[in-house]
């Protein structure tokens, strides 16, 4: 049963294309996950939630490699995005990351480790306090969170920990894009004898220190994370600074 939309949602729907407006939903998980209720309690308790097709979460419907499942969250169709939470209902560690767009668009590409088939969702908070939720099911063979990282079998990462490579694109179809790779094992702590060891925070800013995006990452983000951002019209070099849960810091400058 579909419940009638609240006034806020009706007002929103009036501004949207009819197909999108028809897909707006305030209850009844469109992904039909038995865990949605728990997810809502854990992340969005007591707050107004709208399943919104403008929150686009892209991932392969069948992920060949559960250690590196690509996910792209695109909420650029919404304005005034303040916060985005990404979580996977059936992962042993549910929370994947959070990001706070400032100068950048509400867009982030990354890869995630999945332990079993699960919805991957993004909950997007706009300035009016409303949470817009989108997501997609990913089927996978499993084992992504309890498999040892590649770093576990090679000491090379110790010399290269937190090494950053990155690039900006200013022309072509990817114009306005920033991509960044950080060497890090991103150990989940779910492999016996290997404690959780993962990046926790990355902040992007322009050369003048104006924030582009702040990113909080958790254990399920894939080893040697790669992030794709839309820096938009901003020009010039971009500074990325971050740290992991052992206090190791990194800082890198990505030339335009």
């Amino acid at each position: 049963m579909k419940f009638p939309l609240t006034m806020a949602a009706i007002a929103l729907a009036a501004l949207m294309p009819p197909a999108d407006a028809a897909a707006l939903q305030e209850s009844g998980d469109p992904l039909a996950s038995a865990r949605w209720g728990e997810m809502q309690k854990a992340f969005l308790a007591g707050q107004q939630v709208l399943f919104d097709p403008r929150v686009k979460v892209s991932a392969p419907s069948t992920a060949e490699n559960p250690l590196q499942v690509p996910v792209t969250v695109d909420a650029t169709a919404l304005s005034n995005v303040r916060e985005v939470i990404v979580f996977a209902d059936f992962n042993p560690i549910v929370q994947v990351l959070r990001f706070y767009p400032a100068g950048s668009g509400a867009y982030l590409g990354f890869r995630v480790k999945l332990q079993q088939s699960t919805p991957v969702r993004a909950a997007v908070r706009t300035a009016d306090g409303l949470w817009h939720v989108g997501g997609t099911w990913v089927n996978t063979v499993g084992g992504g969170c309890t498999a040892p990282s590649a770093a576990a079998s090679s000491p090379e990462w110790q010399q290269r920990l937190n090494e950053v490579s990155g690039r900006q694109w200013s022309e072509g179809p990817a114009s306005g894009r920033l991509r960044l790779r950080i060497v890090h094992p991103m150990d989940t702590g779910l492999v016996a004898g290997t404690p959780a060891f993962y990046l926790e925070e990355i902040a992007f800013a322009d050369a003048a220190g104006q924030p582009l995006m702040r990113l909080q990452t958790y254990e399920p983000v894939a080893e040697n994370p790669v992030f794709t951002l839309q820096r938009g019209a901003l020009a010039g070099p971009i500074e990325a600074r971050g740290r992991d849960n052992n206090g190791n810091l990194f800082q890198a400058r990505i030339a335009p």
Binding site: A59, R181, V226
Partner: protein, 309 residues
């Protein structure tokens, strides 16, 4: 009485299962005394039981030389029966061309024989064999019941190998995996190329180094230009009297490498790379779409890393 009934029921169940796990192997001659079993051009499924692979054997003067043992104990057993239907001579040597599970999980059926492979293939089977077997069990189900990894016992080196009265030439290459053995049978002119060559099926790349693979293909193509060459047996797909499958495999790998390189240079994210359509020349190639998706997962991270430096 009750017990007898139970036995009867089990026997019936066994009979039904056995009928259901028949790979239908029948040896196909490609040259005098040289035979192959041709697998399907499919992905691993519970319907094909993993029979997507080519295996073969050479009937030599003093026994049978077996090349690869298939995806399961059952396959290996049925392969032995099918060999016995061709010749009364016993198998004397099994060679594994590389460390992928569809090529060695039938080894158990040949236990007691010398099982030979390149040294790093032996190491790969010892290290990853069980994980591969588990994965294949998940994909192909009960066809693999009872299958256990049997690690080759004898290390091979490149060069001539005299065995059972037959003169083989072992060509140690790599690129599909870290060690890929091709076998040239001088008497018949048959070249067993292993999984360096795919025919009518998109190549698999979980352990591929495309640069090395392309070099290996050039070496294999040179062998097909020898005066005595008669037949190319690819690891997957039909045998041919020419090098066409080598060129087909090269075309796919060249396109794949270039396409991933360009995508990374253009700043695409992995999801965008996955969403790209196949070029028309490969659109009808069996399992091209699924192998492309897998290959993006295997190979795009390195292409990306190169572009981000």
């Amino acid at each position: 009485m009750k017990r007898r009934f139970l036995c009867c029921a089990l026997w019936l169940a066994g009979a039904v299962q056995a009928a259901g796990f028949d790979y239908g192997l029948s040896a196909r001659p490609v040259a005098p005394d040289v035979h192959v079993f041709i697998g399907r051009s499919e992905d691993f499924t519970t319907a094909n039981g993993g029979n997507i692979v080519n295996t073969g054997f050479i009937v030599a003067a003093q026994g049978v030389i077996v090349i690869d043992s298939g995806p399961s104990l059952r396959y290996g057993q049925q392969m032995r029966q099918a060999i016995a239907a061709v010749t009364p001579r016993p198998p004397v040597l099994l060679i594994n061309t590389h460390h992928h599970p569809d090529h060695f999980l039938g080894n158990q059926a040949f236990s007691g024989l010398p099982i030979a492979a390149l040294p790093s293939t032996i190491r790969g089977i010892a290290a990853d064999g069980n994980a591969f077997a588990e994965n294949l069990f998940r994909l192909s189900g009960d066809w693999l019941l009872g299958t256990e990894v049997l690690v080759p016992t004898q290390a091979l080196a490149a060069g001539p190998l005299a065995v059972a009265g037959r003169q083989l030439e072992l060509i140690a290459l790599d690129g599909h995996t870290g060690a890929d053995l091709a076998i040239y049978d001088s008497a018949s002119g048959v070249l067993f190329a292993g999984d360096l060559v795919f025919n009518g099926r998109a190549p698999t790349t979980p352990h591929a180094d495309i640069g090395h693979w392309l070099t290996a293909l050039d070496q294999l193509e040179a062998l097909t230009r020898r005066p005595g060459f008669t037949t190319l047996v690819p690891g997957h797909g039909a045998p041919t009297p020419d090098a066409a499958p080598i060129r087909q495999t090269r075309a796919w790998l060249t396109w794949l490498r270039e396409s991933l390189h360009q995508a990374a240079e253009a700043g695409l994210d992995m999801n965008e790379v996955l969403a790209r359509p196949l070029p028309p020349e490969f659109a009808d190639l069996p399992v091209a779409a699924s192998e492309y998706r897998r290959s993006v997962g295997h190979l795009f991270p390195a292409a990306e890393q190169a572009a981000l430096k």
